[in-house]
């Protein structure tokens, strides 16, 4: 039982990190960025290259990959979203242009690395484990949960206490009003993409370390899980996404333990489906959702 909870928290914290980036952009733009999973995947590769070829320790490689992910996010915004802003079909068009960009990025990775799974060299991460109560916890799990929690707190601080955070929230509330008040909306959106993709990048690196598995299609399943998480948490709600990420992680681990591993993925989408039909605003979503 205790073991399952630890495993669930561990998986859930990665889902939460990924989904936070997703929901941040949705909150600001009302658009799903389906290239988020490509950033997630590419940054796992970036960390891998830094560790394997430049022999950097993983604790130096992680921030570099996160920074690269943030910059890549700004590029995604520039190419796939900014040109469409103001078009009447920008909602579905943005969905499609981000799929297009994700495809291009995936093609690039396939060309350079091939379709096979790559692994971090042995000894990249601590391999010892310790006993807490009845559960065996590896140091890696502790580190990953700690990083996830730290980034979560950092994000909360950024959004609540800083000038940039206030502006991001203003644009999310109403781009028009924010513009009238002198906010450079395009720059704030760009900054939101940076933050969002940096979180996605961190999730990618941690996912790659956690399962020691870096592959061109690693983002696909996480992308769909991420959708389930942000819907469950309430579209655009940060605390909701964090909570729902952890909830999904726990739910999946307990499904595997009690029902069987083959139904693990069905749980996420069954929950997603039920939430959308029964309570479209999710756990912590705003009361009146314009779109649902």
């Amino acid at each position: 039982m205790g073991q399952q909870i630890v495993n669930g928290l561990f998986l859930g914290s990665i889902y939460a990190l990924f989904a936070l980036g997703y929901t941040l952009v949705f909150g600001v733009l009302d658009i799903l960025n389906l290239a988020h999973q490509a950033v997630f995947m590419i940054c796992a590769y970036a960390a891998l290259v830094l560790v394997v070829h430049l022999h950097m320790p993983i604790f130096a490689a992680l921030p570099v990959a996160v920074l690269a992910g943030g910059l890549l996010g700004m590029v995604v915004d520039r190419i796939a979203f900014r040109p469409l802003r103001g078009r009447s079909d920008s909602n579905i068009a943005g969905l499609i242009s981000s799929i297009a960009l994700a495809t291009i990025l995936e093609a690039a990775v396939l060309q350079f690395f091939g379709p096979d799974v790559e692994r971090f060299p042995f000894g990249t991460v601590p391999t010892r484990s310790i006993q807490i109560g009845g559960a065996v916890v590896s140091e890696l799990q502790i580190v990953i949960i700690a990083i996830a929690v730290a980034m979560l707190l950092g994000l909360t601080w950024l959004l609540r206490r800083t000038r940039l955070g206030r502006r991001i929230r203003a644009v999310a509330e109403s781009p028009k009003a924010a513009r009238v008040l002198g906010v450079d909306v395009d720059r704030i959106i760009s900054a939101s993409f940076f933050v969002s993709s940096a979180l996605g990048a961190a999730a990618g690196v941690l996912f790659g370390l956690a399962f020691n598995n870096v592959a061109p299609d690693m983002g696909r399943s996480v992308e769909l899980k991420g959708l389930a998480v942000i819907v469950l948490g309430g579209m655009g709600s940060m605390p909701g996404a964090a909570l729902a990420g952890v909830a999904l992680g726990l739910l999946e681990v307990f499904t595997v333990a009690w029902i069987g591993s083959s139904y693990r993925d069905a749980v996420a989408f069954g929950v997603l489906f039920l939430v959308l039909v029964l309570r479209p605003r999710g756990l912590l979503g705003p009361a009146a959702l314009r779109e649902a």
Binding site: I92, I96, L227, M235, D265
Partner: protein
Amino acid sequence: MSLESLQDLWLTYQSTVAFIGLNGLLALSVYTTLSCGQLSLAQAAFMAIGAYASAILTFHSGLPFAVNLAAATLLPALVAVPLGLPVLRLKGVFLAIATIGFGEVVRIFFVNLDYTNGALGLTAVPQRTSIWMIYAALSAALFVLWRIRGSRAGYALEAIREDEPAARTMGIHAARYKLAMLALGASFAGLAGALEAHYTYMVSPSTYSFTRVVDMLVYAVVGGTSVFYGPVVGATFLTALPEILREISARVGLAPGPLRLFVNGAVLLLVILFLPEGISSLPRRVRAWLRSRREAHAA
């Protein structure tokens, strides 16, 4: 060109021709729901239902193939109605996400279904599909959509797409139309699934993943969704493209897989940014451009 070389050419490219037809039908199934402004991404699930239904009937009943195809066309539509009743209240991105959820649940259901061999799926499905059947199905679908356009229902759909509250105010029963189009799109997908299963000899859950729906959507968008034949143009172009690219990739020295993926992504991006009405709007655009040039000359 001699008769033999023509025959060789046909043998080399007949599967491409078949897949152009199948992908065209699938693109139409996405277009059908899109034509009243609804993005449903459950099409792969409907396709799976049609494929499994027809394969199971072929294995376990002595019914003629035409009956199996009819069942594969009807069953997804019957599933679409109870799905659509709650789900179509959602709009835009939310509808898309809900239908993705449904699609994944259906796929995982088939992965876990022992009766159909789980994740391996059914193999050695008898080959019953001929290419003419695929094109007959495609023509029938096009005919239906052509008849809808310009009819009372066609105008109603257009009104719903442009402004649903306004359409409802005009007395258009929006929910009923949306449900009907979802069911029609589902039956196109089911028929395509059945035809594909009996063409490729197999039914396997991995064929009906989210990636497959994205492909369908890409065909429809690249072709253009402002006219009913646009999705078929897109499917034709993007299905034939890999054949051309195979030649090119050998010469450039790039692996064909990544190159295909890259070109698909790049084409999609360029179309959505610069040709929002798809490549089927190209002739119209070129004509308009020529006319404006002529007028500029005359003036």
